[in-house]
């Protein structure tokens, strides 16, 4: 899969990497057991600092998405089928979802449209 980073973007690079990997897991592009490049390889390929990649992988590890091995690098640890989100995960995610929905609503997007667009996005993941 392609990983793209925008050094001058709004989000920090490690966040961009983490987000793309999470989306890939949701969409089934990355399956549990799939390998990711090692920190050094990915940093070299993107021309970025190894610390940045480390940060991204570490964040994914703490979120339970990847496992880090010494030799094997990062491996995808879970996918959508691996058990429901626990209360903690939902509690962590909900405020961010709230912000996103607030942005849309505050800019005048009708609630119905917001829901429809959300459904379209979800379909991307469930249809794979």
């Amino acid at each position: 899969m392609l990983l793209t980073v925008e050094p001058d973007g709004d989000d920090p690079i490690y966040q961009q990497l983490r987000d793309q990997i999470v989306v890939a897991i949701a969409a089934g592009v990355l399956l549990p057991g799939d390998a990711l490049p090692t920190t050094r390889q990915l940093a070299a390929d993107l021309g970025i600092n190894m610390h940045t990649v480390n940060k991204a992988y570490d964040l994914l590890r703490r979120e339970g998405f990847v496992r880090l091995g010494r030799r094997t690098g990062a491996v995808v640890a879970r996918g959508p089928a691996d058990g429901p989100a626990d209360a903690e995960d939902v509690a962590e995610w909900e405020p961010r979802a709230r912000t996103l929905l607030a942005e849309a609503f505050a800019k005048g997007m009708p609630p119905q449209e917001v829901l429809e667009r959300c459904q379209v996005l979800l379909d991307e993941f469930t249809k794979r």
Partner: protein
């Protein structure tokens, strides 16, 4: 001036000129004369005029270099002065073309409003292209064959072995036969093979320069490294063959005069021609490979990151943040080092040491 002694000078000068003339066409369209540009600017008038000036410049420099070799000096001095003029001159022409493109880029603000990104294909790491180890076997076999031949031949070798020849194959100095002197060339074969195998393997796994606007970017990289590795391993075998022939001469198995000098260099010359031909066909990083189908013009306004600041003079890569030691060249086909990495400097120091050693031993 001496015609026959300045003739060998002509070949390297023409070769350098030829390679320099070809090079602009071999670079990816997002890098022109060592300057990063958005893909759609590859056809810009400034780039085209830089290219014209460059070609005229290279031809002019080559002509001057040839005249220098022919009229100004003779013998070795002719070779060196002509080649020096060619190298310095072509590099200067390149720098001028580069500043022309860079100036147009800055004046035209070509990157303004564009989202600059870097792209990596994880599959290149998680499902890497298999290294063609089988292609290394001929090189190794030739070394073993040479060594074996030498062992069998050793009792029949003359007591004094030739140590140096002149350009037409006549011996110019001798040395006493010993294990070291008889197998010196085998030693060179081993060292050269080890070095070339290592470098080929390292650059094979080196970072790709993926073009964010190109959907076939990863495939280009795969084909490029696969072909280049095979060519380089073939060249390694050819060099070993050349050394084998040289050994045959020093071991008094064959005569070293007449057509022999040509025969000696033939394998290496042929393998080099193959390498250059393949490099020209593929372009740097596979940029010249043609793919079927419509090119997907990304609608996201994304362009390859403007990384000019890491490329000093457009040829020396210096990036502290980048852990890669070997990177693909910007102007030319092949690889160069990241001068910000200590490992690269150690490697260069090592190469320098070897060169100094070889020169000192002569």
């Amino acid at each position: 001036m001496n015609t026959s002694s300045s003739l060998p000078a002509v070949v390297p000068i023409l070769l350098i000129g030829f390679v320099y003339l070809l090079t602009p066409a071999l670079t990816p369209k997002t890098v022109r004369f060592g300057v990063r540009i958005p893909a759609e600017r590859a056809g810009d008038a400034a780039v085209a005029s830089a290219g014209r000036g460059y070609r005229i410049g290279v031809v002019a420099v080559t002509a001057v270099a040839l005249l220098t070799a022919y009229f100004v000096a003779a013998g070795t001095a002719a070779r060196l002065s002509g080649v020096a003029v060619e190298l310095v001159g072509t590099f200067a022409v390149y720098l001028m073309a580069r500043s022309h493109v860079a100036a147009a880029k800055h004046a035209g603000r070509w990157f303004e409003g564009r989202r600059q990104v870097s792209v990596a294909e994880t599959a290149l790491r998680t499902r890497p292209e298999p290294f063609p180890w089988a292609w290394a076997l001929p090189a190794v076999a030739i070394v073993l064959g040479t060594a074996l031949f030498g062992v069998i031949r050793y009792p029949h070798m003359p007591d004094r072995l030739v140590w140096r020849y002149d350009g037409s194959g006549h011996p110019t100095s001798y040395t006493d036969k010993s294990f070291a002197s008889a197998f010196a060339l085998v030693g060179v074969q081993i060292a050269a093979t080890a070095l070339q195998l290592t470098l080929t393997r390292i650059t094979f796994r080196g970072k790709a320069n993926l073009d964010v606007e190109d959907p076939h970017a990863a495939e280009r990289q795969r084909r490029f490294i696969a072909a280049m590795a095979r060519c380089l391993l073939g060249l390694t075998a050819a060099i070993n063959l050349t050394l084998f022939f040289a050994a045959l001469a020093t071991w008094d198995v064959v005569g070293s005069t007449g057509w022999f000098p040509v025969l000696l260099l033939a394998p290496t010359a042929l393998a080099t021609i193959v390498l250059i031909t393949v490099a020209v066909r593929l372009g740097q990083g596979g940029s010249r490979i043609r793919f079927e189908g419509v090119e997907d013009v990304g609608s996201q306004n994304r362009v390859n990151r403007d990384d000019d600041r890491f490329w000093k003079a457009g040829v020396f890569y210096f990036n502290r943040d980048d852990p890669a030691v070997w990177v693909q060249k910007r102007f030319g086909v092949g690889w160069t080092v990241n001068f910000a990495r200590p490992a690269a400097l150690v490697f260069l120091a090592g190469v320098l040491a070897i060169v100094v050693l070889v020169v000192a031993l002569r």
